[in-house]
Symmetry: C2
Subunit: 351 residues, 2 copies
């Protein structure tokens, strides 16, 4: 396949369906409207005033409230040296990259929150356990918000498969990836900054396989060690960092021209009180800005997605090697290290 056809696809999905920016609704949609205008079309939207009735909206921005409510809770705290977990870092042995997960430390909640609000120099703490943690580790907060998003549950015909709580500071980022869930993402304090790309743009993500590794943190030395998984396990992950370090921009641009020179990703700011509908299979990169309490707090609801014709089309598209229109001498196989079907190598959240 030449790049020409796939570039037309990137353009056409924007032209016929997505437009230039993410739709904004000023109140919660009806289930039918949500299903017809967004889920069925695999199209994101932001909903304002959808969680105005949550007590958490006024309670959770106060660290003292949270620390009291969760005074005896042990929570899974994710620790990294720099805020990049589930991200690519230099391989410890080769001149290449590996996919690293955070060190996960069971921590009393008040201590965890302190580490987030007053970050020490050598580590970044993030409460982001994605295993339905809101209904397990944080069950003391359950009366502060809804256990599901009623209009979404009715539209999707089920209750959420997982509900997760996220508490972090400005240092934590989530690198580009996709989830095999319909995602309702409610921000309760601070802001989340998303970059979004539709599944049609998969070749622009430069998904490659990286060996899995994990940080191991020693409280005693205050140091992180990077440990490769044994036996080696490969994780397909996007190679693109949309915010390269100063001085690195040109190099990154030339390594990932389809990302940097193609259509701009949708930039979305989700503020406290707003909900983002992040459709299944959309690539997303997330940064955050803390609220007054010194942290960003969000709850997300993962609903099962439909494995339908859209999913089959996506796997087909991903199976095609991309051949540059500019340089037809690049062999087709170049961008297709392994010809894998999507569901054989998707990065499902650890549940």
């Amino acid at each position: 396949m030449r790049g020409k056809e796939v570039e037309s696809l990137w353009e056409e999905v924007r032209e016929v369906s997505l437009g230039n920016s993410v739709d904004r609704l000023h109140s919660r949609p009806t289930p039918i409207q949500f299903l017809r205008d967004f889920v069925s079309q695999n199209k994101p939207c932001i909903i304002s005033n959808a969680i105005s009735h949550w007590p958490g909206l006024s309670l959770w921005p106060a660290p003292s409230y949270l620390s009291t409510a969760l005074s005896s809770s042990l929570v899974s705290l994710h620790l990294t040296p720099d805020g990049y977990a589930d991200a690519l870092v230099p391989h410890p042995l080769h001149p290449s990259l590996c996919f690293v997960s955070a060190h996960v430390q069971p921590t009393p909640f008040p201590q965890a929150l302190n580490l987030i609000c007053q970050p020490p120099n050598h580590l970044v703490a993030y409460l982001q356990q994605q295993n339905d943690c809101f209904r397990t580790e944080y069950r003391e907060l359950e009366s502060d918000c809804d256990g599901h998003i009623p209009w979404a549950s009715e539209a999707l015909g089920c209750l959420p498969e997982a509900v997760n709580l996220w508490i972090g500071n400005h240092l934590s980022q989530t690198s580009f990836h996709k989830d095999h869930y319909e995602n309702l993402y409610a921000v309760v304090s601070g802001e989340k900054h998303f970059l979004l790309l539709p599944p049609t743009d998969v070749h622009r993500m430069y998904i490659r396989e990286y060996p899995a590794a994990r940080y191991s943190y020693s409280e005693e030395s205050g140091e992180f060690r990077l440990e490769l998984e044994e036996p080696v396990r490969y994780v397909p992950w996007s190679s693109v960092n949309p915010y390269p370090a100063t001085g690195n921009e040109e190099q990154e641009r030339s390594k990932f021209p389809l990302y940097f020179n193609g259509p701009k990703p949708f930039e979305v700011t989700v503020k406290a009180g707003e909900v983002l509908y992040l459709p299944s299979m959309w690539f997303h990169h997330v940064r955050q800005r803390p609220g007054d309490g010194g942290y960003t707090i969000a709850v997300n609801y993962w609903y099962d997605m439909q494995f339908d014709i859209k999913y089959a089309y996506f796997n087909f598209l991903q199976s095609l090697p991309y051949q540059s229109t500019d340089d037809p001498t690049i062999p087709e196989s170049e961008w297709n290290l392994r010809n894998l079907r999507d569901h054989e190598n998707c990065c499902l959240p650890s549940t």
Copy 2:
């Protein structure tokens, strides 16, 4: 593109979504169920007992009722020598094919019905004007059925763009094509026999461009003349006849191997009282079996479709030339006479 990837797509859409046969519902779905389980997934279904309340279900099978109700109506009767309209026939000048439309004759309804019920030797009559005819030519029948399908209208968020009546006999067929509408197809008398293929199977339809022609029928001589449109107009149409004449089978199989050797089309019989949801962009071929009155009668509702990511994926797929896996020497361009985008050359119904 090699054929391997697209063949995997044909398989996967069946494996993850469509299964081996078309779903059957035993009563009308709720709007949300219809939208979530079928429209959003671009997946057909048959609904039994959905039009039990229509007076037409008992009234229309009697020719005398119809002829009385429409005694003073002039209707658009479609005449062909053989029952094949909007179909491929030998070109009058070259050793090739052209796309022929029926001769359309304004005819008093009782006379039209007679021609359908007692077909003369030299012509086949079919009432199938697809320009919202039910609400214009047949308005005397409007109290005999619903003006729209309420649960579909609520799901799709609009009323039908067109409602058409179809009255024909066993001699009339509709060749493989697709429509850019969501289609609710209600059979009131007799049966309709559909062959269905999902949009993912577009390469199996061998869509090529054929010069448009029209039959001209002379009542005096009782003969049809085939007239090419001038200036010449090309119509993209499927080259596949799924029911080749006896003796021609092997030749057709070898001309259209992707159709004949690929996954079987979904075969669906829609009986009187049943409704078929025929999703937008699905290829369909239709034959019919008359009811007791000597004719098949159906009403179909065309609703606007969403031009969303599914539509963009379809256009992308269609833009890719198919290259046989068996014979990589066939040039890619072979199956892609013109690199046209779908909406520039779709065959919209004449409205």
